[in-house]
Amino acid sequence: MKLRRNFDQIIINIILVMIAIFTFVPLLTLLALSFKNIDQFNNQPMGLSFPLNFQNYAMAWKFMQDPLWHNIIVGLTAPALSISMAAITAFVLARFNFAGRPFLFGALLLSLLVPNTILFVPLFQLIIQLGAQNTLWALILPYAANQALTIFVTHSFYKEMPSEMFDAAKMDGANVLDSFLYIALPLSAPILSAMAIFQVWLIWNDYAWPSLVANSNEARTAVTGLIYFNDFTRPEPGAGMAAAVLAALPMLVLFIFTMRTFVAGLTAGAIKE
């Protein structure tokens, strides 16, 4: 009996190993290809070939450093703006009673029900009207406007906080901003950082929008830069692969440092989006 049960477990592990091989072979191939010179690339693309060619990374870095830098700027400012506006909005809507509250709440959350395909064209025109095309503003402003999900999630969090805390603070003379900054904000830090990471991830993954409004040397993002580098500057094939590795690397770093929050943020975001 025991033998049979262990046998089950071994079979499961073997199947999992097979799935893992199929899952990771493309990524490992990408990594291997990024170290190949043009001969190695064409003659033996599968597996590692020696000597490793680090020249690819030098070439890729030369092109990719600006896009990576742009993406980091956008990835820091847009979520920071979006989260801080959304958090204070959610707090006010959750903890205070005032005329027009249900209406404003509904108005701010309506965008959750509308797929953003519909916004694609008119937003493009708006960005041109604002003169923001091919600048980082073309990315920061629309991404910062993406607040409905954060408002929705933090609103229910703030709503469930015990009101004794806020009453006590009010007795001590705290106004709206004080009770937000010193009570609500610290307690909601985990949920806010999860939402922030979800937004960073969305921004880092977005291709269609930045390739339309920010396809210039001044504003290109990492993944847009990767495709542009390959399709328009015709680099050595290995350098293209190196650029792909560079485009993915910052997310790996973020994941390693914030694993738990990262997973929580993506799960919450994906389900509610």
């Binding site: 592990n13 005032f98 395909t117």
Partner: protein
């Protein structure tokens, strides 16, 4: 201070209003307008705090959505707007690539909805079946890890894989089937399948994680009692676990549907809608190309509106189905 002034002022205003409308000056309920105005005066800070979100919402959501709807009835480029009525919609339905685009999207949608029900669930069930907690933890991490790779990078690698000297043809040559090799994304009969196949075996990622969480939330007592009754792994899965995670499966199907309705990154990067005029074209890409290549914003808006209507219809159907199911469950 400001608040107090305003509030006094409004009291006065209220007073004037009431005395002017009626002769007797006995206190009576304030009019809705003054009630609102007084509330506003007392809570002005709250409205100020809401202002940034509201401004962003108006400028980047309500304005574009209205403008998109209006302009779908116009010829619209950056310089001029000319009212053309339904012409954009008529053109869309007359365009020979439109049926192909919708057919392609339907194929992509249905394939992915089937994929999301099978592959990540299979992986999740296997991982949950592991008895060694440490091993289980590491398998979970391993299959979550690929979410950090941007979709564009994945698509980029697979584009190379399908190329003339790409991985797939190299593998075929290695096993002496080199004659079967082709430029996979250039063949009308293979390109769409190749795009759907990206990401095989489709186990790793968020879907897997959601399934694992769902399976682990099933109470151990139920599973134990099933075991006592002699249920094996398959029976447990089909008769206990599957019915209990039905809601999560439905959620993931809906999410997959919504995602692939609007996502066109893979066709854009791999084929730009080709081979031919519409080999892998999808409506989202049609919209993107109307804007990027022709600067035909009116036409692009019209496509966006049709996609929006499709989503709306699906959401409504989905809503009614789930409501009927909820009713059936409550009546049982």
């Amino acid at each position: 201070m400001v608040k107090k002034c305003l509030s006094n002022h409004l009291d006065f205003f209220d007073h004037v209003m009431s005395t002017s409308t009626r002769a007797d000056s006995s206190p009576k309920p304030p009019t809705p307008f003054t009630r609102f105005a007084r509330q506003f005066a007392n809570n002005w800070l709250l409205y100020v705090l809401l202002l940034p979100s509201l401004l962003f919402s108006v400028i980047f959501f309500y304005y574009p959505i209205t403008s998109g709807f209006y302009h779908s009835f116009t010829y619209w480029d950056i310089k001029q707007t000319v009212w053309v009525g339904l012409e954009n919609y008529i053109r869309l339905f007359d365009d020979s690539s439109t049926p192909a685009a919708w057919r392609n999207m339907a194929i992509i949608l249905i394939s992915n909805m089937i994929i999301v029900c099978i592959f990540p669930l299979f992986g999740a069930v296997l991982v949950v079946r592991l008895r060694n907690a440490v091993l289980q933890y590491w398998w979970r991490i391993l299959f979550v890890l690929p979410i950090i790779v941007p979709a564009t990078v994945t698509v980029y690698v697979w584009r190379w894989f399908y190329g003339l000297d790409g991985g797939l043809n190299q593998i075929l040559r290695m096993i002496n089937l080199g004659a079967l090799g082709k430029i996979w994304l250039g063949e009308p009969s293979y390109a769409l399948g190749a795009i759907i196949f990206v990401g095989f075996p489709w186990v790793a990622g968020l879907n897997f994680l959601i399934y694992v969480a769902a399976l682990q939330s099933i109470s151990q007592e139920i599973l134990d009692s099933a075991k006592v009754d002699g249920a094996d792994s398959f029976t447990t899965f089909f008769f206990i676990e599957l019915p209990l995670i039905r809601n999560q499966i439905l959620v993931l199907i809906t999410l997959t549907f919504i995602y692939y309705l609007r996502s066109f990154d893979a066709p854009l990067i791999m084929t730009n809608g080709g081979p031919g005029t519409a080999g892998t074209l999808v409506p989202g890409l049609q919209m993107y190309r109307a804007v990027r290549d022709d600067l035909d914003l009116g036409y692009g808006s019209a496509i966006g509106m049709v996609l929006f209507a499709a989503t709306l219809i699906f959401t409504a159907i989905n809503f009614f189905i789930s409501r009927r199911q909820a009713k059936e469950e409550s009546s049982q």
